[in-house]
């Protein structure tokens, strides 16, 4: 079963708020010059911010479910420009298991490019 795709916009201001809320003050998520100095294409979103958006989609799809596991790789950076937001799309497919658990196979893209590798959550719906 295909779940309704969720679209979220990420801005630099979101990254500042997320840094404060999570404690992750890595300057590659705030400061263009630091990001460029370590070979990144620009300021990038925290991978965990993108993963949190993916988790938000799972909660939207399964509001009362307990999440048993959740994981992904960070395969491509989400570059966040200084002057505008960037959209991240979270799509999901449901794979029911015979153990009463549901696996949610996610596809998380930015500009058509997958930014998370193998994102999946197992929930008890």
């Amino acid at each position: 079963m295909t779940l309704p795709t969720q679209t979220y916009t990420i801005t630099r201001a979101d990254l500042v708020r997320y840094a404060q809320a999570s404690g992750d003050h890595n300057p590659i998520h705030q400061d263009e010059s630091v990001a460029l100095s370590v070979g990144l294409p620009g300021v990038i979103a925290h991978g965990m911010f993108t993963m949190a958006l993916a988790a938000r989609a799972v909660t939207t799809w399964f509001p009362d479910a307990e999440v048993l596991s959740f994981g992904c790789k960070f395969t491509n950076p989400v570059v966040v420009p200084a002057d505008r937001g960037v959209d991240v799309e979270v799509a999901g497919e449901v794979k029911p298991g015979d153990d009463g658990l549901t696996t949610v196979v996610l596809t998380v893209t930015c500009g058509g490019l997958k930014v998370l590798g193998m994102p999946r959550a197992v929930v008890r719906a």
């Binding site: 708020r17 630091v34 949190a52 988790a55 999440v67 959740f70």
Partner: protein, 131 residues
């Protein structure tokens, strides 16, 4: 970084009291609304990140050279306001690809009774300085 790091267990983080305020701040920062109850699935990163920072400091690794490669959470139960949690980080693997160190870590997040709440593994990519 040398291979003797593998298997090293670092000191547990200071106890962290999960408050409704912190959970709400986290939910709001990720665009959601919080009406009480369990924290979102990625909230335990707050503890895991604290443990990672202590590890980086102990090993004199610059945070700005770290890029996140992978993160997995396995939950025994949801985190809730009122929980007092600690994280204990250990180094699971270490390899080098293209001059970058790929560090595999595992953090176990436990409650006051010592029960495991969440086990989380992270792959950290330590980007080498430019030539």
């Amino acid at each position: 970084m040398d291979q003797t790091l593998i298997g090293r267990v670092f000191p547990a983080t200071k106890p962290y009291s999960v408050s409704e305020e912190k959970v709400r701040e986290f939910v709001t920062a990720t665009g959601g609304t919080y009406d009480g109850g369990a924290a979102p699935a990625t909230f335990p990163i707050v503890l895991a990140f604290d443990a990672m920072n202590a590890f980086l400091e102990a090993e004199s690794i610059d945070l700005f050279r770290i890029v996140h490669g992978e993160q997995k959470f396995s939950y025994q139960r949801p985190v809730r306001p009122g929980d007092v949690l600690i994280a204990t980080l250990s180094v699971a693997s270490l390899r080098q690809i293209g001059g970058n160190d790929i560090i595999g870590t595992t953090s176990e997040i436990t409650d006051e009774a010592g029960a495991l709440v969440c086990a989380t593994s992270a792959t950290l990519v330590h980007r080498a300085a430019a030539e």
